[in-house]
Structures are given as C-alpha cells and as structure tokens.
C-alpha cells in the first residue's frame, strides 16, 4: 500500500516537473538548451545535497533545521583553515568535513542522549552555528581568492560541458539512495520513524541509527559548504541562509511524511529538480524572483492537498496519533 502511495505521489511530481519543462521551453529564452539543463543541476547542487541528506533524517521522524547554518559555519571554517592556518585546500576541506560531522554529532548527542525533540535541538544549533560563523569572522571577514584548483570544484566544467560538482551530486545521490533503500540502516530508519519504541523493543540500536542520520546530515552539509565556497568563490558567515527551509520543502514536495517512516530519495531528487527548474525557468522567462517563491509555496500546498484529498477518497483515515512526531 505504501508503495502505491509513493507511486501516486511520484507520478504527480513527474507530471508537475514535465509540465514546468514544457511551459518554460515555450516562455523561457534558451531554457531547453543542454547548457541550461546542466546549469539547473549545477545551481541546485547545494540545496540538492542538503535535501538528500535531510531525507533519512525526516524518515526517522526527525528534522534538521541546522543544515543551512552548518553550511555557513563550514564555509567560514574552510576559509579560516586555508587562509589563516595556511593549510592546503584539500587538507582544509578534510578538516571542514570532520567539523561538519562533529556538528551533526552535537545534534545527535542532545537528541539521543537527552531524548530532546529534534526540532528544538536543531533550532538551537541553527542559531548557534550561524552565530559561531559570525563570531569567527567578526561578521565582516570574507575569505576569497581560493586557488584555481579548488575553485574548479564549483566553477569548472568537465569536457567543457559537465559542471564539476555534478559527479559529487550524483555520487552522493546514489550513496544515500542505497543507504535508504538497500541497506538495513534504511530499514531501521523507517522502523524508528514509524515507532521508536517498537524499533527499540526489536533490538534495533535506535540511538546509534539516529546519531548516524544526524552526523551524516552534518557531514554532507559540510560537503555542500565546500561546493558552495568553490562555486561562489568566497566564504562568508551568511552563506546558506534559509537553505534549510528550501531543503525541507524539496523533501516534503518529494512526498516524505514529516511524521516519519515514509519517504524516498528519488522522489526527493524530483522535488529538488521541480523547485530548481521553477526558479531558473522563471528567471529565463524574465519573471521576478518573488514569483518563484509564491509558486513554490502554492505548489507545495497544491501537491499536499491533492494527496490528502486522494487519501480521503480512498478512505484511509489520517494518522491523528502520529501528529506529534513530525514537529
């Protein structure tokens, strides 16, 4: 039955996406070009990465509001390590990734050891990480002039066409898809999402698995930060402001239940694409950016409403009881 639901949701998304593409092909200048197709993917990489890693978190019935701030913090740290500590970019990048994982670890610690609701914990670290980023740079500091070799990661093109960050995006997508859909970890995530207690009684190491989800989230956020810095060519404390909401939007648009248990990585990717295409398509159609925001919201509501109505029709009662877990 779950599969059926997914099926319905994915179809709906695919249609939306197809529709967008068709429309913008008409209205947008140079929309349907190969270059733009890659551009869409290129510009949605950071959000995409965050959304990807948000999926397992949401499947466990949790949420991570701190990814955007974590991106900012990691960007700054990357800059500091490279410029002030004089590390070679690769080493600095490595340390940054470790830091990301550590930050995720902090969330994980509070969530699993003190059984605090993820929303609250990550709301706190949301401010904390951003704050640290600003404190580290006294707000004004701005790291730039990274070596070409590193910038290539975000600005270069393989064979002149394929954006350099695309392989990373693809790799992470596949990795997380496998994790969620083909490993026992993914199975545990769902079990925890549906019923943490049930999972615990079945001998699933709930805390370990949750920790994994949040640490992973921190780690990939750091990775996104690296790509971001390379693409924008600068690291500043305000990097990635508001990305967390975009990522969550994409995941939910992808049909994951905020209450946990359900959700799939490929649908999340669809969600990411739907949003990116919308944004870029509108700009190419000479429409102001606000419209993208409005339509995003509208789209989200529309998709959810259709899904809810469909469910009402097929007379499957909504899960009142689980209304807590999500928030």
């Amino acid at each position: 039955m779950k599969h059926k639901e997914f099926f319905r949701f994915e179809t709906m998304l695919v249609c939306v996406l197809g529709l967008e593409i068709l429309i913008f092909n008409k209205t947008g200048t140079n929309f349907g070009t190969q270059g733009n197709m890659f551009e869409v993917l290129r510009l949605s990489t950071e959000i995409g990465l965050l959304a990807l890693v948000m999926t397992p978190v949401i499947i466990t019935g949790g949420i991570d509001l701190s990814v955007g701030s974590m991106l900012g913090l990691c960007a700054v740290v990357m800059g500091k390590l490279w410029r002030d500590a004089g590390m070679p970019p690769m080493l600095a990048a490595g340390c940054t990734l470790v830091l990301g994982a550590a930050g995720g670890g902090l969330n994980a610690l509070l969530i699993t050891r003190l059984n605090l609701p993820p929303l609250i914990v990550t709301l706190g670290s949301f401010s904390l990480f951003r704050g640290l980023a600003e404190a580290l740079t006294r707000g004004v500091d701005n790291f730039t002039n990274f070596p070409k070799s590193y910038l290539f990661l975000g600005q270069g093109y393989l064979f002149g066409v394929v954006p350099a960050q695309l392989p990373i995006f693809a790799a992470v997508s596949v990795a997380i898809w496998l994790l969620v859909h083909r490993t026992t970890y993914g199975r545990s995530f769902r079990a925890i999402g549906f019923s943490p207690e049930g999972a615990r009684y079945a001998g699933i190491p709930v805390r370990k698995r949750l920790a994994l989800a949040y640490i992973l989230s921190g780690f990939v956020s750091a990775l996104a930060a690296l790509v971001y810095v390379a693409r924008v060519g600068q690291a500043k404390a305000d990097a990635g402001t508001g990305y967390e909401l975009l990522a969550i939007t994409a995941v939910v648009l992808g049909g994951a239940s905020i209450f946990g248990g359900t959700g799939s990585v490929h649908s999340t990717l669809l969600g990411v694409l739907a949003l990116a295409v919308l944004k870029i398509g509108l700009t190419l159609s000479d429409q102001p950016g606000e419209l993208a925001g409005i339509l995003t919201g509208a789209l989200l509501l529309a998709v959810l409403t259709v899904e809810a109505v469909a469910r009402k029709v097929s007379a499957r009662p909504l899960r009142h009881s689980s209304a807590v877990k999500g928030i």
Partner: protein
Amino acid sequence: MALGALLLVLALLAPGFFRGGQLLSICSTVIPVLLVACGISLVIISRQIDISVGSQFAFCSILAGLLIQAHWPMPLAALAAIGAGACCGAFNGALIAGLGLPSIVVTLATMVTWREGLRWWRQGEFVHDLPETFQWFGLGQAGGQTAVLFITALVFTIMVLGTKYLSAGRFVYAVGSDAEAARLAGIRPHVVTFGVFVIMGALTGLAALLNAVRFNDVDPRTGTGLELQSIAAAVVGGVAISGGRGSLWGVLAGVLLLACIAPALVFLRLPPQWEKALQGGIILLAVTADGWRTVRASRSSLS
C-alpha cells in the same frame, strides 16, 4: 531562572541596564514577540506549529499602514489588521484541521507565499507619511506607550486566565495531549485546532499593529525571523513541543530572557557578533536542562 542569572550579571556589571528608559524600551520591543509567542504557545500546546507568523506579521503591518494612509479611522484600521491576521490564521487552520495536513509543512508554504507575495506587491516600499493619528494612536509617545503596554497586559492576562479557567482553554491542552481521547470525550479536535490558529493569527495581527504604531511609517520586511524568535521563546519558556504542556508565565520569562540578550551585549560592551551564538547557546542550555530533568525523573519508565 536563566533570566534571573542574566539579570544578575547585568545588575553587577551594568547597572545602567535597569534605568527606566532602557526597561521601557525593552518592553516596547518585547511586546510584539510576547503576543506572538503566546499565540505560538497555544499552537504548540495543541500539538501543532506555525512558522508563518513572521510573514503574517508583515502583511498585517502593511495593511494597517495602507488603510490609515487611505484615511480610515484608526479603530477601523486596527480591527482590519487583526481581522486580516485572523484570516491568515484561518487559512492555515482550514488546511491543517480540515485536510489534516501537517502544520509545519502548511505554514512553511504559507510563510513563503505571504512573504514573497508581499514583496511582489509592495516591491519592498515603505508605507510613508502616515497621519499623526497613527503613531501612538495619536496619543503622543508617553500616552501611546502606556496604552500599548496596557493593551498587551490586558490581552496577556486574558490569555492566562482563559487557558486556566475557560473550558475552551483546557480543550486546547486536551487536544494537544491526545486528540483521539478528546474526540471521544465529545470535544471536536479539528474545531479546537482551527480556533487556535485563528487566535494565533489575530494575536499576530494585534502584535503587528502595536508594533507598527511605534513608528510613523511601515517597513514591509518587518517581522522577519519572528517565527523562530517566538518559538524559541516558547520552548525556553518550557512549553513541551510534544503538546499538552506549558504555561504562559514560562513563555513570558522566555520572551524576556531572549529579548534581553541584544541590549545586554551593548551594556556589557560585548562584540555584537556573539549575539546569535549566545541565543543558540541559551536555547540549547534551556532545553538541555529540561531534558536532564525529564531523563532523571522518568529513568524508571522510559517512555
């Protein structure tokens, strides 16, 4: 208690903090957050959440400004602002209670939609040249401030009493604690939820109004980040995110605590860039402390 600690530090290091002017100004800046936080607390107690308040806030402010500009009488404009808020709330409520959509997603969507819609409409322009009758309701500053304070105090008291001594208030707790049980007890959960969101909206509208009258023009981007501020305040104030538990007095404390940080930094001559970090730290500390207590308490029956 954390509030007490902060105040103590201030008292020792910067007595100037406690001069009437400062406190008054803190009050007047706190008022919008407090009202919104009260609303949010109700929402959270009823086991929902609303992150669209910031956008509603901006929308209501602008509306009030425009109506005044269009020479509506102040009371009418005020009502309109509050009404508009209520409508926004009703919209959320309808989707959440009516269709049973998850509140966090619905309000996430409406947050984006209102905010961007407002931008599209206003292109970020201020509402200028408001008549004297707008600022401080034309009562002049002193009079206006007392009026605003009075209104807030009144509303807050009503809320506190309502949540304790009005059966409807108790229903909010009941629904938040267990919607199904409430239904079986003859309470109509979706009605309660809907009502809560309407109240939330109305309070936002009021807050927006009381905030707007402090100035003689309205900034369309006002209220950005208000949602997180107020949620944080509610949580620091001890409202359980899992619904059913929390008191508005705690919320009051939470609001004050968070509101004191920024000015406190100024008084303690601390660099501003630590503000966000401090806020985050305090939120985490507060919930961690709470977490400890519950963990210790329910060591026996791990829920």
